[in-house]
């Protein structure tokens, strides 16, 4: 295997038969190249889908009140339910074992915001500090709402990237600037960005205590949001989140005298149930690309085997001559296999590198709603390359073995 003489013999054969070598190489290289492109595209779609659902924390539970639809304990239909700070405080104490982040929200759908001569209408939300994590928001500049903001009714505001772009047109630093929000002056203390994009970034956050005061809401809140502690198993996470939702619903309905089977009085949205669908979709996409990838590998292996078969056929006479001159069957087999493996390794690796380079160059420019960060795990690519080489050698073995069985007399007669 490592004899220089034998490699010289093989290189001579490969070099003198350039066309054959090139064709074999190109077919192997293109197989691997296509595989890399497919895997990259698969990952791109998967990342794209994940990003679409990434805008909020995956294990988020939101609660907001509605209007009763059933009579219960002497109370009539059509009664609006109103949540208060006490509901939030009691619920979070009762269910603290489940909760990771928590926030009550007092929101105003359209707040008129003015900075110097620029004006815009944005959603204003009074929140607790944890809300940053529930929203999956990340801070670009400054900070988010903190405890002391709420304790001291600070008139601080954290604005979305979109809001900052709209109002601070000349590129001023928003931090420390004064904004007029619905007639009151707030100081900008932070800018955030949100994976949900512009829609999620056209909001401003203020401390909930400040908001309740500013909009004369007393201790009313509009909704509550939680994220739950993570479980290692997705199924456990779903079960726990379901349990949490049940307990929360039972608690709030009892407190507000709502019929247990009233569908309209209290809405609880559990994003984990949706997440389950995402997992199924991305799982499906992944499975599809694996299927295509495996088919590509099989096609590649069959291709290599086919080429080896043709090569052996073409070289029947040469093999016969070699055998007449004293070549043993094993030397014929190793010669053909070594050639096959050598070509597969070189060509396969070129295809792999070329595919990776293409994604490296093209990848950043391909950005669509459901397609982001197309990339190939190098280990996966190398593994498939190894599989292809082993399979190629295996596919080459059959024709090589057959070649070794050729009777020299038959080979030499075939003119």
């Amino acid at each position: 295997m490592f004899s220089i003489e034998r490699w010289q013999e093989i290189f001579e054969g490969l070099y003198k038969n350039k066309l054959r070598t090139a064709l074999t190489g190109v077919s192997v290289a293109s197989g691997i190249f296509i595989l890399v492109i497919l895997l990259g595209a698969g990952n791109g779609i998967q990342n794209g889908i994940q990003k679409q659902f990434e805008q909020d924390a995956v294990n988020r539970v939101s609660v907001w009140p509605g209007v009763t639809q059933k009579e219960y304990n002497g109370l009539g239909v059509g009664r609006s339910v109103q949540l208060h700070n006490a509901d939030y405080d009691l619920a979070t104490t009762l269910l603290k074992d489940y909760i990771e982040y928590k926030s009550a929200i007092f929101s105003v759908w359209s707040g008129n915001i003015v900075y110097k001569k620029e004006t815009g209408t944005y959603r204003v939300e009074g929140v607790h500090p944890d809300y940053q994590f529930i929203e999956n928001a990340s801070i670009v500049k400054g900070r988010f709402v903190n405890q002391s903001d709420n304790a001291n009714y600070e008139k601080n505001v954290i604005i979305g990237q979109k809001v900052a772009n709209d109002l601070f047109k000349n590129g001023e630093d928003p931090l420390g600037e004064q904004l007029n929000v619905s007639g009151m002056i707030y100081k900008v203390v932070g800018v955030y960005s949100d994976p949900g994009g512009e829609r999620e970034e056209s909001r401003v956050f203020i401390p909930i205590a400040t908001a309740q005061k500013a909009y004369s809401a007393g201790d009313s809140i509009r909704s509550m949001a939680f994220t739950l502690k993570k479980s290692d198993q997705f199924d456990n996470a779903v079960a726990e989140s379901h349990e949490f939702t049940q307990k929360l619903e039972t608690f709030l309905k009892a407190r507000h005298t709502i019929a247990p089977d009233d569908q309209g009085a209290l809405y609880i949205n559990n994003s984990l149930e949706q997440a389950k669908n995402i997992y199924i979709i991305t799982g499906g996409v992944q499975a599809f690309f694996w299927f295509v990838g495996i088919c590509t590998i099989i096609a590649g292996v069959v291709g290599v085997g086919n080429i080896m078969l043709i090569i052996v056929k073409e070289r029947t006479k040469e093999i016969g001559i070699r055998k007449a001159l004293g070549a043993s069957p094993i030397s014929i087999i190793t010669m053909i296999l070594q050639e096959a493996v050598f070509i597969t390794v070189i060509a396969g690796f070129s295809g792999l590198i070329f595919g990776l380079i293409v994604w490296e160059i093209v990848g950043p420019y391909v950005e669509a709603d459901f397609f982001t960060r197309p990339e190939v795990d190098f280990n996966v690519a190398v593994t498939t390359l190894v599989i292809l080489i082993v399979a190629g050698a295996f596919a080459g073995f059959v024709p090589a073995y057959r070649a070794a069985k050729i009777r020299p007399i038959v080979a030499l007669r075939g003119e």
Binding site: E5, E318, G326, S328
Partner: protein
């Protein structure tokens, strides 16, 4: 050198069995120059293939240089071919992507000889057949006579006991044929045992002994006065 006793060989042709060799008894001593003649279908090529260990007999015994040739596996057979025999074919059978020198060196490669020694020795044999200047040429750049001389150099390179030539002049014109026969005669003069299969009487006359084969049996086996090819060249 070659001892053959009661050799039988048949080929299976569909349902029919074709009995090609029907009890051949045949000895060749060292240094002999024998031609095997016969019409097509007489079994002369089959006999040569069996002698060349390219084919195996069904019955009978074959001894080559006191080594019984029987039930050899492919690996041993290829070693024996390399060590004992040099082949010259009608269609030359050179490897067309290798230069003349590399073609001659191929049997030595399979002997495991180092590259430098291999090349020196091959060059020596190419000189011997008068083609030293053609060492770097590919077979398709050469004439038929030249190709056959490369093939002879290749057959001699491993210094075999016996040179086997199957219709060596079959693809050549008369003049070139005589040149090739002249070369083979010189090789025999140096003491090498040579076996030639031919159907051309004038070629057979240039050997020292003619064996006539008919329907798988030896019809006649006679010593002849060798006609030197050099007088025609």
């Amino acid at each position: 050198m070659i001892e053959i006793k009661d050799l039988h060989k048949s080929y299976q042709m569909g349902k029919n069995s074709l009995h090609v060799l029907k009890g051949i008894n045949f000895d060749v001593k060292e240094g002999e120059f024998v031609s095997i003649m016969g019409s097509s279908g007489s079994g002369k090529s089959t006999l040569l293939n069996i002698i060349g260990i390219l084919d195996e007999a069904d019955e009978g015994s074959y001894t080559l240089d006191n080594v019984p040739i029987k039930n050899l596996n492919e690996t041993i057979a290829s070693q024996y071919r390399n060590k004992f025999l040099g082949f010259v074919f009608q269609s030359f059978n050179l490897i067309n992507y290798k230069t003349a020198l590399d073609n001659v060196a191929l049997p030595l490669y399979y002997q495991g000889m180092a590259r430098k020694e291999r090349m020196e020795r091959s060059m020596h044999y190419l000189e011997k057949v008068g083609l030293a200047n053609w060492a770097k040429h590919l077979p398709n750049e050469m004439s038929g006579g030249q190709k056959q001389r490369v093939a002879i150099a290749r057959a001699l390179a491993s210094d075999p006991k016996v040179l086997l030539a199957d219709e060596p002049t079959g693809a050549l014109d008369t003049k070139t044929s005589y040149e090739v026969m002249d070369l083979i005669q010189q090789i025999n003069d140096e003491g090498k045992t040579v076996l030639v299969v031919t159907h051309e009487p004038d070629i057979a006359e240039m050997t020292k002994r003619i064996v006539f084969l008919k329907d798988g049996q030896i019809e006649e086996d006679k010593l002849v006065n060798q006609i030197r090819a050099s007088q025609y060249v």
